[in-house]
Amino acid sequence: MQQKSQPILQIENQTKRFGNVLANENISMQVCGGEIHCLLGENGAGKSTLAECLYGFYRPDSGKYTFKGKEFKPRSPRDAIDAGIGMVHQHFVLSPPMTVIENIVVGTESDGIWLDLKSASEKVAALCSDYDLDLELDTIVGQLPVGRQQWVEILKALYVGVDLLILDEPTASLTPQEVEKLFEILQKMKTKGLSVILITHKLHEVMEISDRVTVLRKARLVGTVNTIDVTRETLVNMMVGRTVSFQVAKKIKTPGRAILELRDLHVLKDNGLDGVKDFSLSICENEIVGLAGVAGNGQSELFDAIVGVRQLQNGQILLSGEDISNDSPDMVIKKGIASIPPDRMTQGLLMGFPIKENLILGRHRVAPFKKGIELKYRVIEQFAEQAIEHYEVVATSGEQIAKTLSGGNLQKVILARELSHDPRFVVASSPTRGLDVGAMEYVHKRLVELRDSGIGILLISEDLDEVFNVSDRIAVIYNGEAMGILNREEATREGVGLLMAGFRGGGG
């Protein structure tokens, strides 16, 4: 426990607005020396804003920081780094064509015009052995796996000698094994007396690693608690303001006939390299197949191939036995495949258009929305009203412009569009990415309802919690190849994690 140590950082009454949106309202918190402090909250609760103000990215409208006993007023990230605060962003700020050591020293050598890479290398090598990191310093960063790129980010901060390191959703794109390693690093930092602020919305991480938790909800502070004094349930309650069930209620269903069969698919990436290789998978009626994998292992190419926007080099896609390989996207839609794209804002929605027009995109050439040569806006408006009500979209009306909606509500608009027309098959890619717990629960419930009604679903997701929560079978994709398929009952997180990292023979 950390009661004895002095607070290294004190935030008092921070308020920050963006336009009319209140991002932080009167938030106060303390971080002690040598503690791992989680900042927990749903998306849009204000966690990142709080951290980015502290790191000097934004300036708070009001509030006061005291860092290491002195008042601290960062005007830029430079100020924060000089004072001893480092930050690892969700999207790394590394230069992929440069080596590890070059990435670490860039911007730190202040005297003279010559880079003293040799002594820098010695210093970094010492850090690596301290933290038990097995890293070649002359490797090109772009060739490292994501987990190791994150090490480089952390080393950058350690190299300049920070006292407090902020990590923003650091586990989002890591395998379970990489997460474990990251947590070891953080524990070592703690024993060396460094402090860590870990921003997350994943409860099991909070329970596993943190000493204390500060919970934010809707821009306000809910409170700070000692982790050992609370349970997951208490934290959810603090975070969401109500109780949430994690386990989706699922009826036992025997899978029916195969509805979608992927046979030996070969699909290229945009750069001409292999995206998906010899990939075979079949999904039955009444079944959700979860496809786990670390981001960038061919999931997006597979999604594109199924919905018809990416050409197959080889292989076949069968829908109820009918060959739909290389059908155009509009044909695929007509034949009853609904799709929830991984990137809803660029692939799924017209952000500058009203909700009602987003709801008919893709069905704008069929009755009842089209009659003769005209779009029937009265029908469209009625449909929008029903969809908003049925899918609980928080919006004033179908006229509201999409970009004014929150992420969860945008996803509901896509769900309403895709699921309202009796699909035969649904391919959903990261359907809950960036959603808060409440919206996530809702999406999972809808998917399970559809599965219960007889539809086959392919759920492509990087979130293992999600895959384990709703799937009947779990497949794993690594480097574009199918690594195996397991029944939910026989799958373990560790086994799936090994498959995600490319080790065959993992699994059960």
Binding site: D61, P329, I333, G348, F353, L361, G362, H364, I373, L375
Partner: protein, 355 residues
């Protein structure tokens, strides 16, 4: 306590705020212009009075302003199609000239046909000629991803010099001193109205605006066109054939420009002259933006600008303000109006400084 200001984007802009911005912009523009007019040694109030009366002060003035507005309605609508689909057609000038050439060619070769046949034939010919020029960048973009900004701009010069060639030789009568064709037969004239220079082109422009509004807002094609302009990736995922929309949007834009060219030949000049387009294709960009990419807005913006052109002539004649100053005033007014339209989307907010 110290205060500082931050600039923020407005979520929504009300109609009143828009009108207020237009009014404020006009006042600012007229104040800046006043300095120029004083500098030229003329009386400011008298000059503005002449400008206003010359533009909209009498029936004749209004009708002549509408004549000036007519080509701008077409080029403005052509740019609306382009902006809405994000197919940036900067070849409106050349497509407009194609329309004038088609009208001239038909007028010279088919003048024996009755007027009632020639009126629609000229319109059709102009649209086809404009669209034919638009087809080249369209197919290049859709098939080979050639940037349409470059291809459309360059084709303008091809057309411009081809027109110069025609007017300096093949289409110029030997006795003619100016670079222009003969005066066409009356059978090829589009009708005039109200005993003025106002011709059928203006009314076709109004119909075209109505048609375009309906097309964009009420038909699946218009929806697809707007969708591609808003987000081509999402459009493609949801089954819209992007290449087809790009080609059709450019053809439509170019056809509207060509139709505008016909009006100037068959409705106004009744011959093809050098400089028949006073940069209408380029002004169309401003008209489309000033009209907020809305067909009805384009009609209003074109009439405003037509009035400005027409009133400027009166101002020059009555007060002796030199032409350079008159044209600067046109530029200043467009500049402040377009700036106001952008600025109205932002606001200043006072925040308490942390110090």
């Amino acid at each position: 306590m110290k205060y500082q200001f931050v600039v923020e984007r407005r979520q929504q802009v009300s109609l009143w705020l828009n009108l207020l911005a237009v009014a404020a912009a006009l006042i600012v523009g007229l104040l800046i212009s006043a300095v120029l007019i004083r500098g030229a040694g003329a009386n400011v109030l008298e000059s503005y009075k002449a400008l206003l009366e010359g533009a909209f002060g009498s029936k004749e003035a209004i009708l002549e302003s509408l004549v000036q507005a007519t080509p701008l309605i077409f080029t403005g609508l052509a740019m609306v199609v382009a902006f809405r689909s994000k197919v940036i057609n900067l070849g409106v000038e050349g497509q407009f000239l194609m329309g004038t050439m088609a009208a001239a060619w038909i007028s010279m070769n088919f003048s024996y046909l009755p007027n009632l046949v020639l009126i629609p034939l000229l319109a059709l010919g102009g649209m086809i000629a404009g669209a034919a020029l638009g087809f080249i960048p369209a197919i290049l973009k859709a098939r080979l991803e050639v940037n349409e900004v470059i291809s459309t701009v360059l084709l303008n010069y091809v057309v411009l010099y081809f027109l110069s060639y025609l007017l300096s030789g093949p289409w110029k009568p030997p006795y003619e001193w100016l670079m222009q064709t003969i005066r066409f037969e009356e059978s090829t004239y589009w009708p005039n109205f109200f005993e003025s220079r106002l011709h059928l082109g203006f009314f076709i422009g109004l119909v075209a605006a109505g048609f375009l509004l309906y097309l964009l807002q009420r038909t699946p094609f218009g929806f697809e066109l707007r969708s591609v302009g808003e987000n081509p990736v999402a459009a493609r995922y949801k089954g819209i054939k992007i290449e087809r929309i790009i080609i059709l949007a450019l053809l439509l834009s170019a056809a509207l420009a060509g139709l505008g060219g016909v009006g100037e030949v068959s409705g106004l000049h009744h011959r093809l002259i050098t400089g028949i387009s006073k940069g209408y294709g380029w002004t169309g960009i401003l008209i489309a933006l000033l009209g907020q990419l809305n067909p009805i807005g384009v009609v209003l913006a074109a009439i405003f600008f037509g009035g400005l052109i027409n009133g400027s002539v009166a101002m020059k004649i009555h007060t002796g303000v030199p032409i350079a100053v008159v044209e600067s005033i046109q530029g200043i007014l467009m500049f402040v109006l377009l700036s106001a339209q952008t600025m109205v989307h932002f606001k200043l907010r006072r925040i308490e400084d942390a110090e």
